[in-house]
Amino acid sequence: MIPVVTDLPAYRVASAELSSSTRVLGGSDPEPVGAVVVVAGMGAWVAEARRAAVAGAAAIVVAQPGGVTRAELDELAAAAVPLVLERARLRTDALGADAVVPAARYRTAEVAAAPKALRPAVRDAIGWLRTLSGGALTLTDVAWTATGVLARLVADRDGRQALLTGSTLVGTAAGSRIRVHSVGDDRLEVTVDEAAGVRIVEAGSAAGTLRMPRVHEASARVALRRAVAAARGETAVTDLADFAHDHALATAIFAGRHG
């Protein structure tokens, strides 16, 4: 039974759904030693995560990580504590347990989001491109308009191009949509639509189109479960390195934005 330190309702629920593995510690200042500590990913979340690591947390979960600097990411990496990042738009478990991503001729990502949400949405779209590419990408071209961005990246592993468009939707309430496509003889398309409340993965081949089963497990439960496994030494997690990659590319893309 691993203790969990959290005041986030979604993670209290997640712990209740992992009742044989976890229990939420009570009290006003619970002891983090040996616990999975959950940090809300806003404000000074990096400092809070670092404090938890220094205090002896067995693993750390960051719920929906927000803005961060390169230096902060490097500090977190030095903490040497398993770090799980809950990125609700990047549920790669939706690909299926035995997912085989087909070889691509090229890949695309279309991102549409409210202006303030565009950057994190682009970051998560890059995460999907990285997942479908099987590794890191390199940015080659960027161009901005008043309402969007065009970017070209290349996958380091197979040299295939990944073409990204990011455009703004009016209204702060407009939910984002990310659509990522691996285009080739066989195809795989992922659509994550916050407004429509859907996450669809479809694989196309000569046999037809297969829609992957919807993943029903709550995002927080997935993150907590992964953190427990990492804390026990059962699995290694690469969330921070993956996030650093996606964040760096998104930063580079947005560096060219004017106004």
Binding site: T147, S167, L169
Partner: protein, 345 residues
Amino acid sequence: MWGVGVLGAGPGVSALHLPTLARLADEFRVVHIADAGSGRAEPLARAAGAAWSTGDTALLADPAVDVVAVCSPPAEHAAHVRAAVRAGKKAIFCEKPLALDADDALDVIEECRAAGVALVVGTNHLYDPAWGRAKHHITAAGGRVHAITVTVCLPPNDRYHRLVAEMQPGAAPARRPPDWSDPRVASAVVRQLVLGLGIHDLPLVRDLAPRIDRVVYAHPVEPIGYAIGALSGDILIQLTAVMVPEGADALWRIAVSTARDLVDIAFRPAFVHDGGAEVRVRQPDGRITEYPSTPEDGYVAEWRALAALLHGVDVLEYAELIADAEYAIEFADAAAEASFEAVSR
């Protein structure tokens, strides 16, 4: 009933225009088919009860031919259109592209205009009823267009040829990948692909993004394809296409992102007569509206448009033809230049 003379006897004729014209037997009858020496015209013409010949002379002189369908290789289109005008034909249907350079396109259209000859260029996606519906939605919803992406992935055409024609053996040559490492080859092939494949959708792109300000990137895609990013004012344009040896059903999708709605237009594969494109609109609150496919596709619609011109029911906008041709050639030239630079690096 208008007599149609077809210049060309390749798969674009046997698997596209002949089956299409068979669906318009109340308006058109194929009376003459001419090849350039392949001998393919004869069996097609015999099956249609039409005359056949080699070269364009006999066909253009045939009094039974009212309408000339120019389905020859692209490099010959402009010359064949001119010849048809000078032969006094009433109307011309020309497969895309109309011409390979802007001056030729302008000259040809002006010649048609001066002679009062109706001209339709076979950009079937433009005539697809779905496009009119999608454009109306985009305009009526009031959201400014922010991005246009065209995503294309095509298996070999013979998969679809055999659904609409009994093909002659060897009629569809295999595609050989070009040497993409040579910048001159890459540039020339990208230009050719834009004018042969991208041109299906460039008139639609022009409807929303009337000018090309800058090509941001243009690269070949192996084995045969391209990836092009461009800007038109504040509108992002991304065109991607690849021809693959096998695999999934053809993908041909235009996605338009406006300030409010995300509109998808998914076209059916080329050659088949399986209805118009499907239109799907995603609104800011997540509501999804799907418009049904129409029974009539763009191939039938473009020939009906020609019939409407012949009947005097519709008026030909020559200026729009010029603008479409110039836009496509400008885009192709800019993409060729950008891909030359990219491959040279």
